[in-house]
Subunit: 258 residues, 4 copies
């Protein structure tokens, strides 16, 4: 089965900063999309969507036809509409996969799904990053060097304010000595989430073969194995009737209010 991927990019640095536009001539979202296609080939169909598209390119129809959404944002997190964030959250809880990249840690959608501030320490000074695999049997780690070496990238360091991840796949160190939980998984509702640290606008990280391999592995991993997308629901079940739930009628029983 073909995985339908939507690569979302904020696409602002590319418009405002000539250096970034030069580094990423097809946009950062373009580079991410190309990396996924290069690795997964016929197994995937990739579209891109950006902040300035109507509804940020994430209409109900687009999301219904998306198995895995990847998310990169940075300068304009606040401009993402709450309505779209609600919609993306609903689809994740119903089973859509989500791969959050780098500065997406501070996006509304990641904060919404984590419940925490998602703050961290950082520095943009050409640190070398080494990503070490601490879960070598994880699908996302397959075919990835140990360590994965990124010659230069922005530094993110702990404390990273997130819930304890379900799984830690990669831990990074940087030239300056900081460490970071760089590849981490979470299940929320019926959806699977992978956060992956590398990928700043000021470095050509999304052309790195190893980074592209990890993102592609994550896309494959994040596809739900459930047969269809359904919302988690609250239902009442009669005794011994285990399979037929009944819809919620409200919290207050009119009969009792006398």
């Amino acid at each position: 089965m073909t995985i339908r991927v939507t690569v979302w990019g904020e696409n602002r640095h590319e418009q405002l900063e000539p250096e970034v536009a030069k580094r990423y001539p097809n946009g950062m979202h373009g580079a991410v999309a190309e990396g996924i296609e290069a690795n997964l080939g016929e197994g995937v169909t990739v579209r891109t969507a950006t902040l300035d598209d109507p509804e940020h390119g994430l209409t109900e129809e687009v999301l219904q036809n998306t198995d895995v959404l990847t998310w990169w944002g940075h300068a304009a997190h606040a401009e993402v509409s709450d309505e779209v964030v609600d919609r993306v959250q609903r689809h994740v809880l119903a089973g859509m996969g989500l791969v959050v990249l780098h500065s997406g840690h501070w996006s509304k959608i990641f904060q919404r799904l984590m419940g925490t501030s998602c703050t961290l320490r950082w520095r943009s000074e050409h640190d070398r990053e080494l990503l070490w695999t601490v879960d070598p049997t994880h699908p996302i780690a397959q075919g990835v060097p140990h360590p994965l070496i990124i010659e230069e990238d922005e530094m993110y360091g702990e404390f990273f304010d997130i819930p304890a991840p379900d799984e830690i796949v990669f831990i990074s160190s940087f030239t300056g000595g900081e460490v970071f939980r760089s590849g981490i998984t979470f299940k929320r509702g019926f959806g699977k989430i992978f956060y992956f640290r590398p990928g700043d606008q000021d470095f050509p990280t999304y052309f790195h073969e190893g980074v592209r391999k990890v993102i592609s592995n994550a896309v494959e991993w994040a596809v739900t194995v459930r047969p269809e997308r359904t919302d988690p629901v609250l239902l009442r079940y009669d005794t011994e009737d285990f399979y037929n739930g009944q819809g919620y009628q409200g919290a207050l029983d009119p009969e009792k209010q006398k």
Copy 2:
């Protein structure tokens, strides 16, 4: 040191349903508060706050002087103002303990901190509940019978749509055969959260000695061991300057936009 507890109660069933008012003459919040005082005595000062108080009784000043907040709501989750939910979340992330009770699973604040729908299956039919300890070395399980027997209470069953808890302390079964992760812990930011299932308005659960013991243990457990409450922050650190972070200056560098 004295633990400063604020017991929050929605206090609507008690006003609208004579049976509930009779069952809980001091309100459900009153019964919860009494149970904590009975167990922790001089070690605790307890105040109560309810939905109809100004700002729901949860002003900035009250929260700053609260070590642990307990939360019971049911019929009026939607009436809790988003501003107060923001405030409570901020205090939890900064280190305030939170004990969420029973139907509080569907409160705005619990959904906010979990990132999921917090839905489940349920039935109000006088099921007996048995709570089994699956983490016998946990502080919250000390002095609690194994199993803890509640003669009748509402049933909550799986699937409970929550993130995988950091720790599962209790698992319940019910007369009808359903099971539920009934006593579970989460860390979010610098705060500790305990969710505890028992306690419906239609049953005298909050007078049960074992239930009161668990809630009191949870209050003691949820107090942070950090010396003061601070917000998680995003800071920039220069190389080799590990201890002096600098505030965020924005995502776009004016120098680069040419």
Copy 3:
């Protein structure tokens, strides 16, 4: 690729107790093997091995050609040779999958891999068991009713003395009200382990379609995704030589002992 499964059975009850022999005419291992074949068909080749085979049927060659080993034992745990237990543990740590069934909780190999006593509470009195899925996106839960109903089986209850599982897939309740973490996963070394509770010699549990589905799902899940089986090793690495480890030369440096 075909999954090579070895179904290990103690095969003692079948020889000593006529009722069990009648219930399981091909042995319990035979019933487990048939269930896996019925579900996975061409995707699997299944052999069986029993306690009374030379080396319990688990020679080095057999294990090298086993992707997933299933284990059922009960009356004769002590008769399993430590040498075979060492061998199985080594293969699990190198990447062989292991599915431990029911009373296998008290086997030497499970205790060895857990590090705990693996004790529990139990009763053999025809309790009905309901298995509830608490991780609905897990591959092992796919195609399994929620709940899975087993009309009668032995009861196992908490406290089950095991390490906190990596994942809890199923939680059971029993007629008597006990609960149990019934379907749980662990990674050890490069190997994946699933423990599954149902399956007593006194009940026809291994003919149950749902039980067979779970075991078959577990077999598929337990196959490592790593390309080959390798032992975890301790190696010395020179600075900046990240990929070429050197063998251990011993703890004491003769040069320093003067």
Copy 4:
């Protein structure tokens, strides 16, 4: 209540290598003991025991009177008797705390409790180690600088072959860029275990104030909150008789063998 601590040291490097004897004139165990006393003062009574003591100084009586055992070994893991390892494991499962230090990762007792090979990568080349707190609300992290800086120590790097820890408190990086899960907790049976990485015989690590603070915090944390030490047991429970288990009578029913 006073915490009774037994500090176990292999005490071989100190006898065989003059440099180590000079660095640690009271033995490494002596330095560890002094650090605990310096931090916990009247709250603790500390004794030491070494490999060459009868029964390695870990008789049944000593262990019964030990709340927390710390363990450092390296050159002579193989000389530790299996009988003593059995005894220590039994006491841990019954509730004794265990703090495993540095090269104790490869001790029989740690391997026994983990079930894995406990292998890793290493280098002894004066790397600087930075320990970063990733669980800032954990008791073991209180009063510890973030990061904790150790000017030079042996390097340990991932992959560290251990079960996924219950909690990760510290992650280290080294000058060479390696990372390591350096402060990690596990519950086994009724006992609490903390593994802490720093502390090689070739460096004065156990005189470092921050290292001593962490070990002292770990000692306090590892004391069980259960009122007494009891072995996990397997017991049969009749229906509705939840509190009176009955001893195991064997796996085979003589009545059924006809």
